[in-house]
């Protein structure tokens, strides 16, 4: 029985009144494991540059539980946002609950971005980095019985490249010049320009594979069809989503659960109340401020640090934030320690850049260099002629922690004669104002930050074209050049230099101010084990068992 690799966050005891962050958040075992795997990855980097993949996947074992876990059973999980579509190319946060459970990708990553075979067993980059040959695992079928073939993968790339169906992943498909089927289970991806291996594997990891029978927008509106450990059962919009064990899953012996029922709540408070009442066995994406309402018998498990980051967007196309000095001054007005301590209750870590600790672009020195400094910020504001002004800050209503962060910012700005007015429109109105570039400060959290750094351009705030932060106008040359350099950096030294240039541009231009990581919190009864999160912070239930 092959135990498929599965990244699983550390399980922490429930936190009550915990102080601090950083060192208290990452425990010793996790740190040592990361270092060990990091060393293994660095040592194998020269090999990875030539080829990739292995038929014997590595994996991390899940923490031992006291009682013997058993197969079978139904897991009832609460979630506070309903699914929007079953097209996984629409990479919305709402869809994270099913993406990695119904669909599979060609590879997965460990927590430190080591690729692990899934639907693909091996992949080899050409010497000139212009094409990647991928070999698929034979004998895999979709949940409808259709075989997973190279043609099916190619069809998925076509689907992702279509503006009407590709959604977030259209940028991934745009990296490819062609996808050629070279055999029943082999295909060749040819890139538009020479591409680093790490970016190429990101493509393999990012694309969930949909059955060709369901590769239409209409079919994926209300049903899903993949090759993952669970198949689509039923969906009652606004009420529940039921997944059932996929009996034809390629990794025999998995999943353990018979079914998973996601109970959809319109707000997190109701979800936590149901968890406390025993109506649910677990709840996913629980806001940290509600943990105090959860019984101490429950376990709290954090998702991947660096998958998502809370950030404050500044509208660099309108006054006063069209002045770089003002944006740089704002960078210094965020008391990140207070945000992590008082808003996120220690379930996070401060950051000035969007990347997590596992990212190749991670730079811990930036946190010191751009530390909270109101005195310096005031001097910069005064030099820019910004005094006694009030800025508008629009926080999305479904995420109250963001408004709480804004409150901390407000209190600090008040100390230097500035102010912000905080509004909390519903998400629909909030998105509208963002599309229209009709904002001054707009906080949110972003994803696609854990992998190759240029992947960040899947977020509208980082992309080069039609960027609402810049009024859909041109972006700073430093950012454009840094992205281009990173996209074409084929050696570690070139990548290091390119990533440093990206960081320099982000901090210098400061149109997006990162404050802390957003780590999902999975709260569950002690009877549940084996829950994982991938590097995108999507929940993975393949290994999950009930005791």
């Amino acid at each position: 029985m092959t135990r498929n690799n599965h990244y699983e966050a550390e399980q922490l005891p429930p936190v009550e009144g915990q102080d601090g962050y950083l060192g208290k958040v990452v425990d010793r075992r996790a740190l040592l494991r990361s270092l060990a795997l990091g060393g293994l990855s660095l040592g194998s980097l020269p090999l990875l540059s030539a080829c990739g993949g292995s038929s014997a996947p590595t994996h991390k074992s899940s923490p031992a539980t006291s009682a013997a876990p058993r197969s079978g059973g139904t897991l009832n999980i609460g979630v506070s946002e309903d699914v929007v579509t079953f097209n996984p190319d629409n990479n919305l946060f709402n869809n994270f609950i099913y993406t990695r459970n119904i669909y599979d990708a060609m590879i997965d990553y460990t927590s430190n971005l080591t690729p692990i075979p899934r639907l693909a067993t091996s992949w080899k980059m050409s010497p000139d980095n212009t094409s990647l040959t991928v070999n698929l695992r034979p004998g895999v079928v979709f949940q409808d019985g259709t075989p997973v073939t190279a043609q099916a993968i190619a069809d998925n790339f076509t689907f992702a490249g279509n503006a009407a169906t590709g959604f977030s992943l259209i940028s991934i498909a745009a990296l490819l010049k062609s996808v050629t089927v070279t055999g029943p289970t082999s295909l060749q991806l040819t890139f538009v320009t020479p591409t680093p291996l790490e970016k190429a594997t990101d493509i393999l990891q990012s694309l969930p594979i949909i059955s060709p029978k369901s590769l239409t927008a209409a079919a994926l509106k209300s049903t899903a069809d993949g090759s993952g450990p669970f198949s689509f059962g039923t969906w009652t919009p606004g009420n529940e989503l039921v997944l059932k064990r996929n009996p034809t899953f390629w990794d025999h012996g998995f999943p353990y659960l018979d079914s998973v029922v996601f109970h959809i709540f319109s707000n997190a408070q109701s979800m936590v109340a149901a968890l406390s009442a025993g109506s649910l066995q677990a709840a996913v994406y629980v806001p940290p401020n509600l943990l105090s309402a959860v019984s101490s018998k429950h376990r709290v498990q954090k998702g991947h640090q660096g998958a998502l980051t809370y950030s404050f967007h500044l509208n660099a196309s309108k006054p006063p934030f069209n002045n770089k000095l003002v944006r740089q001054a704002m960078q210094l007005c965020f008391d990140r320690e207070a945000i992590v301590r008082d808003v996120l209750f220690g379930y996070s870590a401060a950051t000035v850049l969007p990347w997590g600790p596992e990212s190749p672009a991670y730079d811990p020195s930036a946190l010191t260099q751009y530390a909270f400094d109101l005195k310096k910020a005031k001097a910069m504001f005064d030099a820019a002629g910004v005094t006694k002004q009030t800025f508008a800050c629009s926080c999305p209503a479904p995420y109250p922690e963001i408004a709480s962060m804004a409150q901390i910012l407000k209190a600090d700005l008040n100390k230097i004669g500035l102010d912000i007015t905080i509004s909390t429109p519903d998400i629909n109105t909030w998105v509208s104002s963002y599309y229209a570039s009709n904002f001054q400060i707009l906080p949110e959290f972003e994803g696609n930050l854990a992998k190759y750094p240029t992947y960040c351009t899947l977020n509208s705030g980082y992309r080069l074209k039609k960027n609402p932060n810049w009024g859909n106008g041109p972006l700073p040359a430093s950012w454009v050049n840094a992205l281009a350099a990173a996209d074409s950096a084929l050696t570690p030294s070139a990548q290091k230099s390119a990533f440093a240039a990206m960081n320099k541009s982000l901090l210098d231009e400061a149109w997006i101010i990162d404050v802390a990581y957003r780590q999902s919190l999975f709260v569950s009864s002690p009877a549940i084990s084996g829950v994982g999160h991938n590097v995108d912070d999507m929940i993975e239930l393949q290994d999950t068992r009930l005791t």
Binding site: N91, F93, A164, K221, S222, P237, A277, S279, K466
Partner: protein
Amino acid sequence: MPRHRGPAGGYHNRPRHSVSTVVSATPPPAPGKADSAGPRGMRKYLLQRVLQLLLVLVVASAADWYLIYLVPGSPVNALLGSNATPAQVTALDKSLGLNRSLVSQYITWLGHVLHGNLGSSYVSGLSTSTLLGQRLPASLQLVIASFTVGLLLALVLGILAATRPRTILSSIVSGYTTLSLSVPTFWLGILLILLFSVRLHFLPGSGTYIPVWQHPIAGLRAMALPVATLGLYVGGIMTRFVRSAVANVLEADYVRTARSVGVPERLVILKHALRNALLPIVTVTGLQFGAFIGGTVITEAVFQYPGIGTLVLSSVQARDYAVLQGTVLLLVAAVAVVNLGVDLTYAYLNPRIRYG
């Protein structure tokens, strides 16, 4: 002759008079009037009401269409999120028909409705009829149970308070009615969840619709808290009217007459006073139904009850216009039908009332 205990407590040798004797103390309808107020008149009345209903539905749908479009945002925002490109937004707008004018979209929708098609959800792709069909049984169960509980409470407490004025019981009932008006339903619902679900683990706090006719015990347990929340709310409002109506009727001459001829007090209240008191009570019930629907939406949201209320909320948030329109139509029709039922009930309660 039977001996009856009169109101003063003494025994009197009085004949037992039938109820009809007391009630028919009022003059009969004028000759000829009963002929024109027959089945033909009722049919004409019903036709008028149905035509009125259709007009109300059209006006309500147009007004609702306009109002929902006034709110910033679009279903495209919910479907694409903040990382969509302008090209993707434009493409989806076009495929959903949202790039057409408001009037054009409304006329197209109205045309479909006249053919029995309420449209489809932009979010789930499911037809509005399917979504309503999924939610309607749950809401009906909740509404019927809550209204029944509320009315029963109102009848019992209202009659008790009316027949026992200036007593501790009457004060307690007054306190209850005041509280029911001042305490928001969502607050009460949350308190009930905290007590019975989170603290005592006695009842489920949220999310479950179990048809009572299939699983009576489980169904009753699942809806106990939302029904209690809504029932206490509507019961409080109705109790005031019942008490006031019954108290007024108890002062009437025929009630005094009934008592004086020895009719038992229980029969005086239930058979004589209540029937006449029911007219204003029925009127208020119809009027309250519309407000009750609003309270149902809030209660369903608090309890995550999978009914039409939560469908309305999620449709507003997602700007799911077709679903919202279909739901509003259904609710307007429901309120109108209930009020029609109220009017028809008048004729049953008071034979002097004729339509047509």
